[in-house]
């Protein structure tokens, strides 16, 4: 088992699937000659050639739509968005066409497309490039959304997404691209819709996804060391489908829940999870559900303030102590 980065794990997933299935095509802005704006696809052009690794113009509505059309005929495009924020200029394609085609055709047409790229704030690039649209997209039946937090999950979820026959949107995080961990060399997938207990505990359940998982794990360390609290961290990994049973099982064990995400609070993923917990585990709760989101403003440019806008360990610790009070 090799220690590789989150970025390398994503690349390994794509490389393995390119080898496994000749219908897999990587497409996006700067994915080939430039080796990827964030180097996720580095070296793939050299290895697989321009038929499989395709540079597109800056034309998201056009090339995402092209990928959707090609997927209807059985191509399995893996489309890179340089930022998920750019999906907003392709929204009709991403939602109306990819998300609805199977339903509107009464099941006659499938759309086995993967759209992937970073969806995060925290990089000091201002509001237009810092969107986290997992809640927006997961609110559309027909679409699947996954958010890997670790190299192992990044590889396994990406491979599962490429093999899936429905549109799967993989939301990565540029801040995690250099994180390293052990990742198996052999073929494996992480099934879509299965959450993972990243840390076991007994006093409090923290539910998170994406980079908020890493933040929550740091907070859990502090809570244990400085406050003697045993925290369980549930990593959703997949937003839709959602592993409701793992969340509920953890809450039934700890009786307290704190929800952490990098989205803005209004209609965030955690709004759905809070509803789930109160509707199916109300009697298990010893305290109101706590929540940490980004501060509710467009993403600020100022580096100093952006670090405070996003959830960070001290804020998670503070919120956890309130739930535990």
């Amino acid at each position: 088992m090799a220690v590789i980065s989150y970025r390398e794990a994503l690349r390994a997933a794509m490389r393995e699937e390119l080898k496994r299935d000749e219908n897999v095509v990587i497409m996006g802005e700067e994915v080939a000659q430039f080796n990827g704006a964030y180097k996720v696809t580095e070296g793939l052009l050299k290895e697989f050639g321009p038929k499989r690794i395709v540079d597109t113009p800056i034309s998201e509505a056009g090339f995402i739509g092209l990928g959707i059309g090609a997927s209807m005929l059985g191509i399995r495009p893996v489309m890179e968005l340089m930022f998920w924020s750019f999906s907003y200029v392709a929204f009709d394609q991403v939602v109306n066409n990819a998300g609805n085609i199977r339903y509107m055709s009464g099941g006659l047409i499938n759309c086995p497309i993967v759209i992937r790229g970073p969806a995060n704030g925290g990089t000091n690039v201002g509001a237009t490039h810092s969107h986290t649209p997992e809640a927006i997209l997961a609110s559309h039946p027909g679409i699947k959304v996954v958010c890997p937090a670790t190299p192992y999950d990044a590889k396994g979820l990406m491979k599962a997404a490429i093999r899936d026959n429905d549109p799967v949107y993989v939301m990565e995080n540029t801040i995690l691209y250099n994180d390293k961990a052990e990742v198996p060399d052999e073929d494996y997938i992480v099934p879509i819709g299965v959450a993972d207990i990243k840390r076991e505990g007994t006093d409090l359940t923290i539910v998170a996804h994406g980079r908020a998982v890493i933040t929550s794990l740091k907070a859990a360390e502090i809570l244990e060391k400085e406050h003697g609290v045993s925290v369980e961290v549930v990593d959703l990994r997949s937003i839709r489908p959602l592993d409701e049973e793992t969340i509920l099982a953890s809450v039934r064990k700890t009786h307290r829940a704190l929800l952490v995400e990098e989205n803005k609070p209004f209609c965030g993923v955690d709004a759905q999870i809070a509803y789930l917990i109160q509707s199916r585990a109300f009697d298990e709760l010893d305290a109101p559900i706590g929540r940490v989101s980004s501060i509710d403003a467009p993403q600020i440019y100022s580096k100093k303030l952006e670090d405070l806008q996003l959830p960070y360990p001290a804020r998670v610790v503070e919120a956890a102590l309130k739930v535990l009070a």
Partner: protein, 368 residues
């Protein structure tokens, strides 16, 4: 400077309608008597189906929007009549004719309009969302111009597989100002995709005339020059001309893998949709003029009578049969069952509809 140059019509449209100069074009000369009768029959079927739809709509059995193709029949009939095994089509919301012409049944088409489970999309798509992928028909798309990038994707897949095929991507004149259409043009030309963008120019984007919606250098197809793409203008009232010019574009797609924009001038007799009273943006005389002098079905009928291919009796029996078929479709739609409540949550995800031992995913995917 005026925003719009005088519209560049195809030469044949500048003259009063007469015998088609394209009748002897090789692609038409090669048609047998039976082929010509079949083509006429298809056009008549489209017309009678659409006219039967009006009745069903007025009976209150069709909800939502209903966009009719009456007056435009030669466009879809002529283009689709040339297609082979690896040629695909995709269009916007005025999509009934294309469905019938690729071989969908009137029954499944009518039942879709009335939202029945026997409809082509099981009552989940409606008028704007017909699909028949087994017949290379990929819809039926409701958002103006949104299908154009999908068409490039279909053409891309054909090329990726090394097939001698194409994708005919239809849109109205109103789609021409959508960004997605221009992005599709650029990709098609940049990547040499085997695609024909067919602009079905009926003169009005909903209630806004071309003059009021679109800055153009003479015609819409000429925008192709900005992308170094081939283009042509076509008289859409003459099915022979539609076939002749489409054949050239199709050859370009099949043999050179190059795109084309064809602007086919046509006219719709009814409003944008059935909810358009059609009283504010064009006068009745204009509609009457087209009906009386440029009707594509009537002009083709006359040509075939003159050629001795059709007889008056044959014309009558073809039309009577088409009307009867449309009536039978309406009865079928009436008698068909509604989808059940349980059907609402089917056909959302392939994986949920096909769960089995190999299924890997789990979790809640349909929420309460």
């Amino acid at each position: 400077m005026a925003k719009n140059a005088v519209i560049t019509h195809p030469e044949s449209l500048k003259r009063p309608a007469g015998p088609s100069e394209y009748a002897k074009d090789p692609v038409n000369a090669s048609l047998s008597k039976a082929d010509k009768i079949a083509l006429y029959t298809k056009m008549a079927r489209v017309r009678h189906f659409e006219q039967r739809c009006i009745r069903t709509y007025q009976q209150g059995k069709i909800g939502g929007f209903l966009h009719l193709y009456v007056g435009q029949e030669a466009v879809a009939a002529g283009t689709i009549s040339l297609l082979g095994k690896f040629d695909h089509i995709i269009t916007g919301y005025r999509d009934h004719a294309h469905g019938l012409l690729v071989g969908m049944s009137m029954k499944e088409c009518m039942a879709e309009l009335t939202g029945k489970v026997t409809g082509c999309s099981k009552g989940k798509g409606g008028s704007m969302h017909y699909f028949a992928p087994d017949k290379n028909y990929w819809g039926g798309h409701g958002i103006v111009g949104g299908q154009a990038p999908l068409g490039t994707g279909l053409a891309y897949a054909v090329k990726y597989r090394g097939q001698k095929g194409s994708c005919l991507t239809y849109m109205g004149d109103g789609a021409i100002n959508q960004g997605a259409v221009h992005e599709a043009y650029n990709l098609a030309a940049l990547w040499d995709l085997p695609i024909i963008f067919v602009i079905e120019n009926n003169g009005y984007s909903m209630g806004t005339s071309q003059e009021r919606s679109t800055a153009h250098p003479g015609c819409l197809a000429k925008r192709a020059e900005g992308y170094n793409m081939a283009w042509d203008v076509v008289n859409g009232h003459d099915v022979y001309e539609v076939r002749a010019k489409t054949a050239i574009a199709l050859k370009r797609a099949h043999e050179e893998s190059k795109p084309t924009i064809l602007e086919i001038f046509t006219y719709r007799y009814f409003g944008h949709s059935m909810s358009d009273p059609d009283k504010t943006y064009r006068d009745k005389e204009e509609v009457k003029g087209y009906r009386e002098t440029k009707d594509p079905v009537f002009l083709f009928e006359k040509a075939l009578l003159d050629e001795g291919v059709l007889t008056k009796e044959l014309v009558e029996s073809i039309n009577a049969a088409a009307m009867e078929e449309a009536d039978a479709a309406a009865v079928f739609a009436d008698e068909s069952p509604e989808p059940t409540l349980a059907d609402i949550t089917k056909h959302i995800y392939w994986e949920e509809d096909n769960r089995g031992p190999k299924t890997t995913s789990s979790g809640t995917i349909i929420f309460e």
